[in-house]
Symmetry: C2
Subunit: 271 residues, 2 copies
């Protein structure tokens, strides 16, 4: 599809396996305050990390088709697992540009590092996929990447223990080998982790740069929309809509913590 | 089906949404060392706690049919979520007796408590279902139950931090209000929790009885098999088989931690 044919009023589509991608939605709301945005969270089938590539690809296709039917002008894959294993399936299906969090975080880390030693933290599924080191080394094969799975961070964030001694001790334990590797840049390779930024900053000190994919992807989106004259010109209040496949326990509470504001306009998709 | 028609050589079927039920399998291996046992873990579709009752019931039916096709002489529902919301669906389908962990834990707690104040800890889904207080109060309406969700215990067990300061601090925080309620008995309402018993004992002291559903269900199973002359008479080595729907990351490592021994004879069921 020629970008010239796309209506700048059309929304940006953001999708995730659950509610973690709301940190990406939040960054987009802040960085692109006039854009219409549709968020899709596959809350009935989360987590994707334990599923096969075939299944994840199928789910990614379904969500892509749903968002394309909403006439989105751009697609953002907020889910690290989907970005890692199904990016090409989505991009092949989509006539509009597709941005994934993995590539966004990787390119920011490459631009940031001086000593060419980068750390990546994420869920066991994301770390196991090796998607981040692969993407970083495609930009610069000389960069050495130290990857560390942090399986307790997601449940700690969902429990709301953002400033808790338990979380501090856990972070210290997970990050000790990463810091010992001599990194100057750390990629937060999970949409839940931006909520831990103050704590990670406390544990890591000020010398290590933290890469938040949500911010990277917002900057890249802004650049692309500007370049292709696709920024929404009508500066009235934008429309933000949320679609989910289930309302799990504590959905509202956790969602609002991620979003940093009230979560309204949530619609259930029955698949 | 008349119990007289059942062959005592037939296996006991144990099923769970994932690998947590291996603590139940372990108790059965120890308490009934001559029995043939088939374990089914729905590792591709775990966790069940976030799914709708309709979906959980459908999955429970599929697994029940699979185990019945293996000619089991008894079914044990090791999963707290399935026991809470789909027990009757399973029992209606099964010609052989069905034991669920919730009823086993509840009846043991009722037999144990002196002051009629019982605590129950479990996942948010299990606690939210109120299945334990309902089952306990069906035995004795006078017992007061204090329920506490402990969402971090499952990831802590899966991380292997069984004797870690982080787990100790977490347990202290979760258990403070439970202890303050004046309980003399605590039900471990999740198949992962028996691995935390030494830590919970440390935090709670010796005055509070810990109810492990895996042990309760093993005792009840032994009684029933004896009563109905269904104990396996042939005292040769029993057969233990494991069926799973997927091999997730760290499956072997976590499974062996739960089982307390090498995990072999694992077969993949492709659904």
């Amino acid at each position: 599809m020629n970008p010239m044919q796309v209506n700048p009023e059309n929304p940006i589509g953001v999708f995730d396996s659950g509610i973690g991608g709301l940190t990406v939605a939040k960054a987009l709301f802040e960085g692109l305050p006039f854009e219409n945005i549709i968020y899709f969270g596959d809350t009935a089938r989360v987590p994707y990390g334990v599923k096969s590539v075939k299944t994840i690809s199928l789910y990614a296709q379904q969500i892509t088709q749903f968002l394309l039917s909403q006439e989105v002008k751009l697609l953002i894959v907020a889910c690290n697992t989907m970005s890692s294993v199904a990016y090409h399936v989505i991009a092949d299906l989509s006539p509009v540009p597709v941005f994934g969090v993995v590539d966004a975080g990787a390119s920011s880390a490459v631009a940031q590092t001086n000593n060419k030693r980068v750390g990546v933290i994420g869920t066991p599924a994301t770390i196991g996929s090796k998607a981040y080191p692969r993407a970083i080394n495609e930009y610069d094969p000389e960069i050495r990447v130290f990857s560390q799975p942090c399986p307790l961070f997601v449940p700690l964030v969902e429990e709301g223990w953002l400033d808790h001694q338990v979380t501090r001790l856990t972070a210290e334990e997970y990050l000790k080998p990463v810091v010992a590797f001599g990194i100057d840049t750390l990629v937060l390779g999970c949409t839940h982790y931006p909520l831990l930024k103050p704590m990670l900053r406390e544990v890591l000190g000020d010398e290590i740069a933290l890469i938040d994919s949500a911010q990277s992807i917002t900057e890249q989106t802004a650049q692309l929309l500007k370049r292709d004259n696709l920024l929404r010109e009508h500066h009235g209040l934008p429309e933000h809509r949320f679609f989910v496949t289930d309302f799990p326990i504590k959905f509202q509470e956790i969602g609002e913590r991620f979003l940093g504001r009230a979560l309204s306009n949530v619609e259930l998709v029955n698949w």
